[in-house]
Symmetry: C2
Subunit: 472 residues, 2 copies
C-alpha cells in the first residue's frame, strides 16, 4: 500500500479538506482574495450537477435567462432589509472605460433587485403569472474568511426567481423548490439532508420565510446546502410588480427566489470523503468507471478498450487510463483521490488468467471477475454504490443527531460536533444568546407543532422543535 | 394577412433589428449602460448553441474550467500590448466589503493574463503539454455605443486557452479552432463565413496572428463572428511558462486563445431574419416544430398531442401551442417572429378533412398534408430548411462580394454595402488611410499569395488579397 497522501481526517479535518482539493485537482485559490480557480476534474463534477439540476428545474416549468452582473446601487437600495443584509458584502465598480461612473455599480451578490424590476415590466395581467425564471451565473459576496467551495468571494450558482398571483402560490413554489433541492441532494449527491424552515435570525435579507436543506459533514459540522425563499409581497411592493386579476382589480404579485451553488461541492467532499480522498456518487462522477491498463501490450490495450466500449454502450461514463509510463501505484492512488466509483485493473496477468480485478471506491473492496463479465459487473455496481453512499450519509447524520433539554449539558457536548434536537421559544433574542455562548446556530425548524418541553435556551414555553449545530 | 409588425429591413435596418429583438422577446437593455437581459427565447437559442459548440470543443480534447472574474491590475500589466489594447475598455472594482481595496481589480475583459499565470504553475514538463482549457463565462468591456448582442458591456462567451511545446503546435491549434468555428457556423447556424487571417491593425492585443470568421449581414455590413489567436511566446514570456523538453532543456511554451460569444446571435438575426421576423436554423431552434391547436376541442387537442408525441419520438423538439383563448393571427405571427422553422396548424376543420396545414418559415410556403403523415413530413423538412438557409446565406455573400482595383470607384461603391476583394500591400499605415477615407476595414486576408495587381489603397506592390467592408 502507498502511504497516506492526505492529512488524516481525525488528525486535522480542515487540513484534510485542503489536501483533498489540492490532490484531487478540484480547485485552487485565485489571485484576488477569496477567488477560486475550478480545475477540470472539479468543473466536470459541477457540469454534471448542473445538467442534472437543470433538468429538474426545467421540469417545474422554469425557463433559463441571463441578467446583467452590474447592478446600479439605487436598485439594491429599494428593498430596505435586502440592502442592509448585503451591503457589507458588496464589491463596487466605480470606474468604467477610464472614467469615474456617475452612479457606482455593484457586482450582483444575488439578482432579486434587477429581476423584480423587470418582473414589474413583464407582469401586467394574471395571464402573465406564474412567471418562473432561472439563472446559471456568478455572484460576488466579499468574503473575509474564504475557504474553497464553501466561502469564496465569487461563486457559481443557479438562482431561480418567480412571481405568482397569490401569496399561497408563492408558499407552494417555495416548498416545491425545497423538495426539488432535497431530492437532487439525496438522489444525485447521495447526501441525506434535513429540510426545514430557517429561524428569523438566519433568514434571507428581505424574505418572509426561508427554507433550507442542511447536511452534516463528517467533522460534525452542519452545512447549508441550498435555500428557498418566500419573498411575499416585499419585493413586489418595492419594485411595483402589479397585475390585473380576472375581475379587473390591480394586485401585487408575490415572489420567491431559490438557489444552490458550488458550495455543494464542498459538502460532497466533506460528506463522502475519506482518508484516501474523494468518494464520488456515480450520478455525478465524470468517470464512473476507470479501466486501468497495466501493461503496454496490444492484447491488454485491446481488452481495456473492449471493456470501455461495452461500458459506454451501457451508458456508463468509462475511461481507459493507458498511461503505462506512470506507475500502477501512482495511478491507482490518483483515481482513489479523485473518487472514481469503480476501477477495473487489466494487465498481461489478467488477460492470461481471464480475470480482471474490480475495485469499489466506496468500501475499497476488491474482487476478481471474469474478463467477459467485468463490464457488466462494474455497471451493475453503480446503483449499489450510489445507494450505499446515501445510506452511510443518512446513518451518520442520524447517529450524530441527539435530543437535548439541558442547556449546560448541550453547551458541553456541542464542541464534539453533531446535530441537536431541542425545544425553542421562537424568541429572536435567544438566537443571539445561543450563538454567543456556544458558537452554534439554529439550522432549521423541524416541527411546527409546539414540543412538550420548554425552550433549551430561555426556559420559556417552546413553540418549535429545532435542529441546532455548529455550521460552516 | 396581418400587417407588418416590424419596420421593414429596406426602410431602416437598425430599427428592424431592434424590432425583431423586442418582438421575438430575445433580449432587452439592462439597467446599467450597455448591459443586456437575455429573455427565455433568446437564452434557449444560446443554450442550444452552447451545447453544440461545447461538444465540438471537447472533441478537440479541451476541458472546461472556471477562472475568477476579478483580475488584479498588475496581472493585466504584464503583457504590454495586451494592457494597451484593453485598458480603455476596463471596468474597475475599487471597493470591496465596505473598504477601499489596496489594489484595484479589473473585471476580466478576457482571461489570458490570469490563465497564463496558472499555466506557468501547471506546466513543468513536456508531458504536461498540450494543455487545453475552455471557459464559458461572462466578460466586461466598457462599451460607448452599445447594441444588443453585437456590442454589450457585459457579454457571455466561451474562451479557449491552450499551451503547447512548440510554436508550430500553437499555429496548428489556432487553425484547428478556426475550423471548428467555421464548421459550427456553417453546419449549425447555417451562416456561410469567410475564414482568414486578420491584418495587423485588427489583431488581438498581444497576439502574433489572429484568425477570424467573417459573415455578411443582409444590410451589407460584415460581422466578425469568432476569432482564434496565436499568442506565440508573448504570454509565455510575460508569465514565465516554461517546461523541460525530453532532452532536459528548459523552453518557453507557445500559447493560443480563441473565442465566440452571444454576438453570434446578432449575426443569426441579421443573416437569416426577414420582414416577418427571425428565421431560425433547425439545429439551434428551441422549438423546431410548433403544432398550433386552433380550436378548444378534445379531438383537436388529442390530434395535436399525437403529432407532438410522434415528432418527439423522432427526436424533434416539438411544442403544442394550445392558447386557444388567443387569436390564430396573433399566435401565427408570434411564431413567425420567433422564427420557428415549421408550423403545423390543426383545428376542427383539419380534423374533419383529415388534412393539416404545414407552413415552412424559411419560404413561408404552405401545404395541406394528411394528418397521419404530417409529423413525418415536418420532421423531413428540417434538414431541407437547414440546408436552404445555409445556401441562401452563401449565395447572398457571394453575390455581394466584388473585386475592386480602383480606390475611387471602391470609395463610391462601399456605401452600398457588401464585401470587396482587393490587393493590399501589407503596410500598416494603409489600414488607417482605408478607415479614415471609407469607414471600411480589412476584414481578413484571403490569400497568402501575392496578387497580380497593385495595392488598392497605396498603389504599392501587393502582398495579399484581402476582403474589405464596413463592419459592425
Amino acid at each position: 500500500m502507498a502511504k497516506a497522501v492526505l492529512t488524516p481526517q481525525a488528525e486535522d479535518f480542515p487540513a484534510w479538506y485542503q489536501d483533498v482539493i489540492a490532490r484531487a485537482e478540484l480547485a485552487e485559490s485565485g489571485p484576488a482574495r477569496g477567488s477560486m480557480v475550478i480545475r477540470p476534474w472539479g468543473y466536470a463534477v459541477w457540469e454534471l450537477m448542473q445538467a442534472d439540476m437543470d433538468r429538474r428545474i426545467k421540469a417545474t416549468g422554469a425557463q433559463n435567462v441571463a441578467f446583467p452582473m452590474l447592478i446600479p446601487m439605487s436598485f439594491l437600495e429599494k428593498e430596505k432589509q435586502h440592502v442592509e443584509g448585503f451591503s457589507p458584502e458588496l464589491a463596487v465598480v466605480t470606474h468604467g472605460g477610464g472614467e469615474e461612473l456617475a452612479e457606482p455599480l455593484a457586482l450582483r451578490p444575488t439578482s432579486e433587485t434587477v429581476i423584480n424590476h423587470y418582473f414589474a415590466k413583464w407582469v401586467q395581467s394574471h395571464r402573465d403569472l406564474p412567471l418562473a425564471l432561472n439563472l446559471w451565473n456568478n455572484v460576488v459576496r466579499w468574503e473575509l474568511r474564504p475557504r474553497l467551495f464553501l466561502r469564496t468571494t465569487e461563486f457559481l450558482w443557479q438562482e431561480g426567481h418567480t412571481a405568482h398571483a397569490t401569496y399561497e402560490d408563492a408558499v407552494e413554489e417555495t416548498r416545491r423548490m425545497l423538495g426539488v433541492y432535497r431530492r437532487f441532494m439525496e438522489e444525485s449527491l447521495a447526501i441525506s439532508v434535513v429540510a426545514g424552515e430557517k429561524s428569523p435570525g438566519e433568514r434571507f435579507a428581505g424574505a418572509d420565510h426561508t427554507f433550507t436543506c442542511e447536511a452534516l459533514m463528517r467533522d460534525g459540522k452542519a452545512l447549508q446546502m441550498g435555500t428557498s425563499h418566500n419573498l411575499g409581497h416585499n419585493f413586489a411592493r418595492a419594485f411595483g410588480i402589479q397585475y390585473l386579476d380576472p375581475a379587473g382589480e390591480r394586485r401585487h404579485a408575490a415572489t420567491t427566489s431559490w438557489g444552490t451553488s458550488t458550495r455543494m461541492i464542498g459538502g460532497l467532499i466533506m460528506v463522502h470523503g475519506d482518508d484516501h480522498g474523494l468518494r464520488l456518487p456515480p450520478a455525478i462522477a465524470p468517470h464512473q468507471v476507470v479501466v486501468l491498463q497495466l501493461d503496454e501490450d496490444a492484447e491488454v490495450a485491446g481488452s481495456a478498450r473492449r471493456i470501455e466500449a461495452e461500458l459506454r454502450g451501457a451508458g456508463v461514463r468509462a475511461h481507459v487510463d493507458d498511461r503505462t509510463h506512470t506507475s500502477f501505484g501512482r495511478r491507482s492512488v490518483d483515481w482513489e483521490l479523485k473518487g472514481v466509483p469503480v476501477r477495473i485493473e487489466v494487465g498481461a496477468r489478467e488477460v492470461a488468467s481471464g480475470r480482471a480485478t474490480l475495485v469499489r471506491r466506496d468500501d475499497r473492496s476488491k474482487s476478481a471477475v471474469p474478463l467477459a463479465g467485468v463490464a457488466g459487473a462494474a455497471a451493475g455496481l453503480l446503483a449499489e454504490i450510489q445507494q450505499a453512499l446515501l445510506e452511510q450519509s443518512r446513518r451518520f447524520r442520524e447517529e450524530h443527531t441527539q435530543p437535548v433539554t439541558d442547556f449546560d449539558e448541550f453547551a458541553q457536548r456541542v464542541g464534539g460536533g453533531g446535530l441537536f434536537l431541542a425545544a425553542w421559544s421562537g424568541a429572536e433574542e435567544s438566537e443571539r444568546v445561543l450563538g454567543e455562548r456556544t458558537g452554534a446556530t439554529i439550522r432549521c425548524i423541524v416541527d411546527a407543532e409546539p414540543p412538550a418541553s420548554t425552550c433549551l435556551i430561555t426556559g420559556e414555553p417552546a413553540r418549535h422543535t429545532v435542529l441546532i449545530g455548529r455550521a460552516y
